[in-house]
Subunit: 140 residues, 2 copies
DNA sequence: CCATACTGTTATTCTAATGGTTACAGTTGA
DNA sequence: TCAACTGTAACCATTAGAATAACAGTATGG
């Protein structure tokens, strides 16, 4: 799996932990330990789904728009990494006349897509608030 | 996810489809569309778990040792790709004193590991025989 | 017992994916 | 208008992944 999911979850948890629920890409990047530009790219995806709002200009940054208990990890996964469970590489040969070689890629595709759905059902049960809780408990 | 899982499933399905349940790495590689050496590497993993037997020397190759209806995709995933759901990249800074930055990696680790377990529960319900069936149905 | 046809494994090379960095235009408030 | 932000795209560096080569080990048939 793609690490933009990790970055997105971390960023939202970080925002949720702040009293004003705001931070700049720079502050988030320092906490996440990556480049501000990468944060901005991921935040862009989250903004398009309405989980955060952006304020440009001086005193700007990112603001958590949703309640931490309403943002599920499934939402975040869908916004950042859908399809990433499937490897890029495909086996077989679609054009060939062997039934296995020609159909395997399509069948595996279905299997990966079904598996991802199950994964999402599980991620549906965890929210940004839950993750923040877990972080705080782990910190003791 | 790692494509060795795909190669392993494809190879086992291919073996299951053969009347004698045998094939050389060369024949499997042609069907899967990769290099024989890669097949041998993956088959080595499957052999260690007892799903196939190897015969070296002339007339040798790989033999399906289990019943196709007993080999689940979860078994194959465990043999080839366990842990591959988790990205290599980790956020935060374990040494730092911010509770979020220092704990996030561990919490995400747990989340990925739980998610992988759910995935395995789903893969548990599909066998090599089922995949072969699906391939045959898709071929019509 | 030797030539042949296999597997097992490691090392090397090539390619694609990923993450880091830079650059710069656009936006906003003091 | 300047300074502090975001939005994006482009580029570079690193790493992971796949293909290939190489060769030792093993079994079989002549």
């Amino acid at each position: 799996m793609n690490s933009e999911f990790t970055i997105a979850v971390h960023s939202l948890v970080y925002l949720a932990s702040r009293p004003d629920r705001m931070a700049t890409s720079d502050a988030i990047a320092r906490n996440v330990n990556t480049h501000p530009s990468r944060i901005r790219k991921v935040m862009s995806l989250l903004r398009k789904q309405g989980y955060i709002a952006t304020k440009e200009g001086i005193g700007g940054g990112y603001l958590l728009e949703c309640l931490p208990e309403n943002a599920t990890l499934a939402d975040i996964y869908r916004a950042t990494s859908i399809g990433s469970i499937k490897p890029n590489w495909c086996s077989g040969d679609k054009q060939g006349n062997c039934s296995i070689a020609s159909q395997m890629a399509a069948v595996m595709d279905e299997i990966f897509s079904d598996t991802e759905k199950k994964m999402l059902q599980h991620l549906e049960e965890m929210t940004v608030r839950d993750v923040l809780e877990r972080v705080r408990i782990a910190h003791r």
